[in-house]
Each structure stands twice: as C-alpha cells, then as structure tokens.
Symmetry: C3
C-alpha cells in the first residue's frame, strides 16, 4: 500500500518495497530529462519545506515533481516564513497540509519529519532531519548501485570518511543489510561507525572495520566516500592530520577493481580531488542525477498508489 | 465589474460583491485540493511580491493560482531582489507589470498596495501592507463564518486579544458591519479597538466592549482570537500580566455554545493552547485552508471577470 | 546552429544571429503577455541560478520560460543552497545539469558563466557575471532600439554615466558596432570608457567622447543612461559633484529630438528623476518589458533550434 504513505525513515520500507521503487525509477529514466509524456501527477501540488539549505535535494524533488506534471510550492530557507514569528512546526504543517498533496520536509532537528507526519493528512517525505534520516538519499544510493553494477546482491561495499555522524552511511548500510552484501567501514578511530548501528547490521551481513582504505580497496565493488567535517574536531591539528589521510588518491583507485564505482552523497569538499572526476569509476554526479527518477517514482507511488 | 480590478482594501467591496466572492469560493471547494479540471487561468502569470515574511498568505496564493492553472513567479524576501540596490517600489511595480497578469503584494508600509495600484496596469491584490489592510484575509474569515455557520447574518461575534494594532480585526469588523451582526470587543484597557473604528462600526451594528471574555462567552457564535505581541508593551511585566489573562482556557470554551466556532488568523503563539486544537469548536486550521478556494475565486474574478 | 548553444558573451553572436533573435522576439510579442498558445517548450525545465540579487533578470527569464510552457526551478540567493557548505560552482553546475534542460546563471565573478559552460552538458545562458558579460541585456537593448525606432542602422547613440565599470555599456556598444551607427560617450573624466574598448569599437564605427551631455543631445536618436555608483569614488565629495551633473534634466531632453528615446538598464537611482517618466521619450520601462519576448526567443532557439 503506497497511496498516501509517509516516507520518514528508510526502515519503513522492506526489501521488496525498495526494489519496487528501483524498478519504477528505472522505468522513468527516459522521462527524467524530457518529462513524463502523460503528466501523471497533473493537478497535484508538492510542497517543499526546507528549513535548512540544500541545492541537490530540493531542486531534484522539484525537477521530479515537474517532470511528472505536478506543481511545486514552498520555501528554501526560513527567512521568508512565519517561522520567524515563532510559529511551531506542527502549526506550519497543519496549514501547508491544506495547500498541497504531499509535503517534502528538511529540518535541522532529528524527529521533525516523524512529528510532521503525525499532524499532516497528506503524506510526508523526509528530506533529511538533522542527524536523523534521509530516506530518498538512501533510495537513490541503492538505485545507483543497482543501475551501475546491475545488482545489489553479492557485492562488497566500503564506506570511508566520517562514519560516526554521517546519517547517509547509517541509513544506507542499514538498508543494504537487507541484501547479500559485505560491508567495510574505513574511518579514523574517532569517527568510527556507532556501535549500536554496527551491531544491528552485523546480525544480517558480514561487517569489518579498518583504519586504512589501502587494506581493503582491492576487494570493493563500491567505494562510498563521505565528507569529514572540520567542526567535528575539537583540535584543528587533529583534523588536519586525519583529513589529509582521508583524501582519495588516484593511485589508491588504481589498485581497486576496474569495475569499482566511486560514490559520494555530495557536496564534497577535499576528500575527492577533481582529478578523480574523469576516471570511469567516478559515479557521484551520475548518482546525483538519479535523484530525479527515484523521486519521480516515489512521488508517483505515494500520490497515485502502485 | 471585476475584470482587472485592484483589491487594495476590503472597503473597496460592497456586501453584494463580498457574497459573490463567497459563492464562487464555495463552488471551487471541490477543486481546492485537486485542481480545477478546466485550468481556467492557464497561460496567466501571477506575481507574488513579498517584502515581508509570510508562509500562509504567500503559499495559499500560490496554491490558488496553481489549482486554477496559472503560473507563479516572484520573491519571498527582499534579499534576492534589486530592492537591495535601492530600487523604489514604484519602479519595481512598473517592471513586474510587464512580466505578469496580476500582482499580489505584501509590504511593511501602510499604503504600499494603493501606491502600487497607481503604477501598475495589471491588477494589484493587497496581501497585507503594515498596519493597513489585508482584504483577502477578511474574505476568507467571512467565508469561514458563512461555511461553518451557514450564514453571516444574525450572529454574535467576539473579538479577543490585541484589538488596537490588529489589522485583521479592524478589517473584519468593518466588513461584518455590512451584515446583521452583534459585535463584542474583548481586550485589555491598553489594547482596545481604536475609537474611530468603533464609531464607524457602531453606526451600523450593535457594539459592546469588555475586559473579560467570561462576561460574554455564552452569547458568542464566533470567537475570533488574535495574538498579543510582546513588542506592543513598553513594560515586560505588564505584558506578562495581560498575556496570561488572554490565554483561552478549555473551561471558558466549555461555557460557550456547542455550536460556537473558534477562529484565529494565525500564526498563534500562546493565546490558544494546543489542547484546544482537538475541540470541535476549533476551526482555525480549516480557516487557513479556506484561503485557497477564496483566493481561487478572487483570482478568477479579476483575471476573467464575472 | 542554435540548438544547445551556450550564450556566454554577446561577442559569441554575429550580426545575422542578433537579427534572428530580434525577429523571433518580435514574433513573440503577442504571446509575451498571454503565453504562447502552443506551449512550445512544454516538458522543459529551465534552471535559474542567481548567486547575486536580481529582480528584473531573474523574473523576466522566469516569465519568458513560463510564457513558452516551460517549468522553472532554482534559487534567487545563495542562502538556501549548498554553496554555504563550500560546494564549488563546477560541482553545483554538474548537478543542476542533471535536473534541467538549460541553465541561466548570474554570478559575481567574471568568467563564471564561461566556466559553467565547460562543465555543463545543457546550454548555459549568462545572466551577468560580475564586471563581465550580460548578453541578454544587450539583446533586449538592441531589440528596444529596433522596435522603438524601426531600425538599428543609421542612428546616433549617446551613452551617459559610468562608462568605465558599466558592463551594459561595454557589451551594447560592441554589439552596436556591427551596425552602421554613430556612438557618443558622455562621462566624467574618471569614468570614461576604457581605452581598449574604445579602440575595438572605433575600428568599425565613428566614436566621440564628451564631458557634457548638452554638447551632443541634439544629435541623439538614443540616449542610454546608466547609474553612477557611489562606491566607485574614493572621495565622497567628488562623487557628489559628479553625480549631480549627471542627473538628466527635462530641459536637456527638451533640447533633443522629439523622436529620441531614453533608455536605462535599471535599476535607476537618481540619474533619471521621476518627472522624466511621463515624457514620450522615456522608454526604460518598455525596455524592461521587452526582456520577456527577447528571452522567449532565445530560450526557443537554444532549446528547439531554429
């Protein structure tokens, strides 16, 4: 049952449902650049409420809605809203509920999207709630693997960078544990994947941790790189030391499989130097572009049902 | 004659015209969530120029335009505009006039919309000009009464809160004086309805003033609550005292008629506690949602005529 | 070959191509206020990436896209984007490339649009890059002359104001040098047209420089006024002296030809007093409105070809 469903956490979707999104997204690829010829969501309004800055997520939801024939309204920052007058999230949601057919929300506070879903009659799609969830990012990540490697099962994935705070890695690794995968987590000691997440995942799939990408690069089918944020380190010297060692080197990529794909949720800063961009393994811009068909699929499912 | 008409003040509309908007809005209710099947405003562009923050008004105008098939362009805050380069309102209006079929404007200065209407060839809709007017709020307020009570005549309305500065109350009470109503104004001494407004209204309908809502609650068909803004009080202690006594209590509502409706222009802060939200009398979110059909009706009238 | 072409500099277009845009724009005039009945760009998405504030350019591109049936997405200021997270222009462009069919970009750095065009597969339209180029402004300026005077050849044009920093004047005078025109540059000594630009232009058409508009007003078919920005002067006293002498007087206009047209790229501050606005010569608001058909023509050419 997809119709009017809230998509708050990737954990709300089982394996079969994830594959359903992927297959529909794939069928929409031809329309992701030209628009769906039937405008199946004509007459619908998608509200995009972005309480935090975003380029990729907001604009790819808008592109997805428009490629399906829907209209979009909302805000990209709170400066132009009644939030500055002290309005609560619950009240804003109950009002926008009256103006739209689905609400896409990004908010700095963990749990905001779940709260919104309790007050809204129209479906809520979580587009990132602080340290919490960002389920459509996870869906497009899985779609990228499926599309570029032809499968999600029987592959080995390495996550590298800040695995402690990165919600992207937490969600994706949990979702991948539905599949037959091997997971490697590569991070500095201080940015290791949280124990409770590791424990949850390793009940279902093999997990290994490493301090050095070189140890494991040869085995990987997917190298998923994330940003290491300076703000995470109390001591700037420690940041410098760590950041430097987590910059991806072309020589490291060269040691990996030819068929390996490099992914990144973007924006990147230094961790993937621009000379990597032209390697055939670099798929992060393609990954970003897959946000459109994946979100077209999801909007279609929750606004029209299966 | 509606075609190309400016809607600057609720005083520009007579009783018959107000009822015309209400009837058309009512006929659009089925389309307010699904879109008008004929897209009667297809090809039209509505410009929304918001010099001040707003969620409700801007987004409900955008929803209304899109549900009618029109396109929308504009800005939600002045940071992204040439206003920061020193452009005058008159010049901005004369330019946007060339890009759109109607202009919806919110501005912090009283009289801004009237001024805009003098420089624009396309119709101007005032979406709030400082302490001045906000006619579409008044129209949706009257629509809410009409829709929820089945009539606007022969009812008793109590306004409570800041009646001195609240433009919403000034406009609505003036518009209601076209009808056969009883009006009660309940406010602290320092926030009483301005004398010139009271005088104008009581020429046409019975008016009473009170310091305490409890005195009059049993008589009311409509309880219209407004925010008391801290900034209005030079002495924060006085604010605290007053604000506390103007928080609506469930026990007060319980003393009122079962059929009484509670309205609020929103955003609310503390004056209506969330436990009121679930009472059948609470209509303020429904009131906000009626902004869409009312604005659909108004856009249709001024862009296509009767 | 127009299809998918980048429009970065007016120098990218030859005389024949400029005239092609003008003719197509003229054919779109009837649709610039009503929308093109065939929605020839239906299904297309135009991204508007404005890294700097703008009212005119952004909204007229949006109006143009919508009048042609296209959809628009983007941002009007960088506060709501990942730019604040340190994302480079190149990365932003490669991502938006996946969400749109054409990208309109305004950026404070000269060369930004050219750089963007190197990373984008969809066509880039430069909507102003710092001291650099703003080719669609030049096209609408030429269109205004053509439309209001009936020709671009055999006319005399005077540019007045800040000719040193004004990219509008630099681009327009270069583009006009394709035609049979006489150019007069009127400016204070410190704001003269740069030598390298004068040299380039005077290879092709007669050029004269003046300190005083009165010397030359009688000869002009077009008086093109620009803003003198206070920030350009290290000494505020010198600014005051110069600014005052470059305010257009009705008596000066009266000395000119009856058929002379007054243009300005807008926003204006003091250099054209409002009493000029009602003179028949004043064409600057009409000029701004021509931005819509000119941009409709350009979008049609690059998204559908000739």
């Amino acid at each position: 049952m997809w119709l009017n469903r809230d998509i708050v956490s990737i954990g709300d979707l089982n394996k079969e449902e994830i594959l359903q999104v992927i297959e529909k997204a794939n069928s929409f690829i031809p329309y992701a650049k030209t628009g769906h010829p039937d405008s199946p969501l004509k007459g619908k309004i998608v509200a995009t409420l972005f309480y935090e800055p975003s380029t990729r997520t907001r604009l790819s939801f808008e592109a997805a809605a428009k490629r399906m024939g829907a209209e979009v309204l909302g805000f990209g920052s709170i400066e132009s809203t009644s939030v500055v007058k002290g309005e609560t999230l619950m009240d804003t949601i109950r009002i926008i509920d009256g103006y739209s057919d689905a609400i896409v929300i990004r908010h700095p506070s963990e749990g905001a999207a779940r709260l919104a879903s309790e007050y809204s009659e129209v479906p809520i799609i979580n587009a990132g709630d602080g340290a919490g969830q960002h389920p459509t990012q996870t869906l497009l990540d899985i779609f990228t693997i499926w599309k570029e490697l032809g499968k999600v099962d029987d592959i080995t994935i390495g996550f590298v960078g800040d695995l402690k705070y990165g919600r992207t890695v937490h969600s994706l690794s949990k979702a991948l544990s539905h599949f037959n995968v091997n997971l490697h987590f590569i991070s500095p000691e201080t940015l290791k994947i949280p124990k409770h997440i590791r424990k949850e995942i390793e009940k279902k799939v093999p997990v290994r941790e490493h301090l050095d990408l070189e140890e494991v690069i040869e085995k990987l089918d997917v190298l998923y790189v994330t940003r290491i944020q300076k703000e995470r380190f109390p001591d700037p010297e420690e940041y410098k030391k760590v950041a430097g060692t987590y910059i991806l080197k072309p020589s490291t990529v060269a040691r990996g499989k030819k068929s390996m794909i490099i992914m990144h949720p973007l924006p990147r800063v230094d961790e993937i130097p621009v000379e990597i961009d032209n390697l055939p393994q670099a798929k992060y811009f393609k990954q970003a572009s897959y946000g459109v068909p994946v979100r077209m699929a999801l909007l279609d499912l929750i606004l029209r049902g299966e």
